[in-house]
Amino acid sequence: MIEIRFHGRGGQGAVVASELLAQAAFLDGKQPQSFPFFGVERRGAPVTAYTRVDERPVGLRTSITAPDAVVVFDPGLLASESVTDGLRSNGLLLVNTPRPPESLAAPPGVRRAAVDATRIALSHHLGTPMLPIVNTAVLGALARATGVVSLESLRRAVEQFVPARPEENRRAASDGYSEVRAVEGTGSATVSGPKARPPAPRLPEGPIASVSSETIHTSAWRTFTPVIHLDRCTKCNFCWKFCPDAAIEFDANGYPVLRLAYCKGCGICAAECPPKTIEMVAGA
């Protein structure tokens, strides 16, 4: 049995990817299973999904804690989520990133693979520039790096089950398949884990939730990051007024300052800035 865990952000298509992989495995004559982690699904928020593939029917009904492969849809998740938890020492870490696989930190022995699925998705107009849908490109890369499904079955699954743009998605899967690069594991890598959450207050002495939400950083939700060109800023404050994430404050001279730890990259500030001094730049 092969167990695969997907880590994505709401809207990127991680849950659909886990289902498509299962459909492709079924077309290969295997006995797959897939399901998402049931949590707070928010566009941009971290989500997890699972796929198991076996020759025989899968009786297990638990979430995957010791995966053979971990698929990460966004490199920003590497810092905020413990994506490699339980990953088998001979397993695979596949990340959607423009960087080379050698740059990925992974536990000792773990193979590393990288594919620039965001660029592939954008080149096929999948999703919006703010939220490219990278799942089919990532699946193509996964098929190549693991051999868990054939590219032909993956392309057929995409054609049958992807709700929009089947042809573009098929091409994205093929591009992911041909562009993925993998390297063997190292013996001495270190892995960055999540920051420790503040301890919860003891009950029932005070308010149940008294820790500021600003202990949670949402910068990993971004696909695009605002950059303010202050030379043209008129201090009109529109960006500050309209920010739904309270992510803009002012410096001593009254110019806007981004609090990027809390910016989710919605792009409202750039859209509303009257002199158009705010630019949305790709990447978190």
Binding site: G10, G11, V40, R42, R43, G44, A45, T128, M130, L131, R197, P198, A200, P201, P207, I208, A209, S210, V211, S212, S213, E214, T215, I216, H217, T218, W221, K235, N237, K241, F242, C243, P244, D245, A246, A247, F250, G254, Y255, R259, A261, Y262, K264, G265, C266, G267, I268, A270, A271, E272, M280
Partner: protein, 301 residues
């Protein structure tokens, strides 16, 4: 410090778990700016339960009471009674509920709170469907809109029933104050919040709250879409003080509703006839609002 047109104070923290471009998140931020720190907010099951309180965190610098979806009206009557019993003065008691939790499931409790003349502010943030559970239609979903429970087929063009007139229902209770607010117009929004805060008795605010994933538009367009909603007459801005209605944003002429409808994926299946039907209804409602304003102005005080 820059010259600001709305209060500088921030009573909503960053790091909350709203979607990018969330209309309800911006609405809460603007609301608390106008209300200030001496505020208690009761939040029923809704998007805002999830936005505000991933345990053990809170996104609001004011007291929050989580309550059941049907109970917001009752809970703020209770909060006011408790504040009075404790001798707390100058405290804003606020219910902050979605359209489903207000116009459908919480309607009885809202009616009860208004009828008891509870000294509190009830806020309905209207994203026009049950968004937190996955875009199911509510009584506040407009005619023709796609939702997961009003799917589109050759025979069905989205929701077959019109949007419930929650302001009409509230005004029948003769509240001390009622108004429609749109975060795309922050100064008008803030003036209404501050006016509501200064009054005593049951007050109701109907907040327009665009939802990028539920209405299917890009997260950067939340404000642009909000402006279109008001400037096409789909969501007119007005207030009613002691039964007298005043339109607070008057436009020379309404923009065509197609500008508002075609900016959203949830309406993309509508035919030209469907849009003409919506346009006719919006025009009738707008004329009715204007004539009501003229009547109220002419009424002897």
């Amino acid at each position: 410090m820059a010259k600001l047109t709305i209060p500088a104070q921030e009573l909503m923290w960053g790091g909350h778990s709203a979607c990018p471009g969330c209309g309800p998140a911006l609405a809460m931020r603007l609301l608390l700016k106008g209300l200030g720190p001496r505020t208690l907010v009761s939040i029923p099951a809704s998007c805002w339960t999830v936005i505000a309180t991933p345990y053990p965190t809170t996104a609001l610098r004011v007291g929050v009471l989580d309550n059941a979806i049907e109970a917001t009206g009752a809970s703020i009557s209770g909060l006011r009674a408790a504040a009075d019993a404790l001798g707390l003065e100058n405290v804003n008691i606020v219910g902050f509920a979605g359209d489903g939790g207000t116009a459908d499931i919480g309607l009885q409790a809202l009616s009860g709170m208004l009828e008891r003349r509870t000294n509190a502010i009830y806020v309905m943030y209207d994203n026009e469907a049950y968004m937190n559970t996955g875009i199911q239609r509510s009584g506040a979903t407009p005619w023709g809109a796609w939702t997961t429970t009003t799917p589109v087929s050759a025979a069905v063009h989205g929701k077959p029933e019109p949007k419930k007139d929650i302001m009409g229902i509230v005004l029948a209770h003769r509240p001390a104050y009622a108004a429609t607010l749109n975060p795309a117009f922050p100064e008008d929004f803030d003036q209404k919040v501050e006016r509501a805060r200064a009054l005593v008795g049951p007050r109701f605010l109907h907040l327009f709250a665009p939802c990028p994933p539920g209405w299917k538009f890009d997260s950067s367009q939340t404000i642009a879409l909000g402006r279109l909603a008001t400037d096409t007459g789909v969501f007119p801005l007005y207030e009613v003080v002691d039964g007298r209605l005043r339109i607070t944003r008057k436009t020379g002429g309404l923009k065509p509703v197609t500008e508002y409808l075609s900016a959203q994926g949830r309406f993309k299946h509508l035919s030209a006839d469907d849009m003409a039907q919506i346009q006719a209804q919006v025009r009738t409602d707008w004329e009715h609002l204007q004539s009501r304003e003229r009547e109220d102005l002419g009424r002897v005080h």
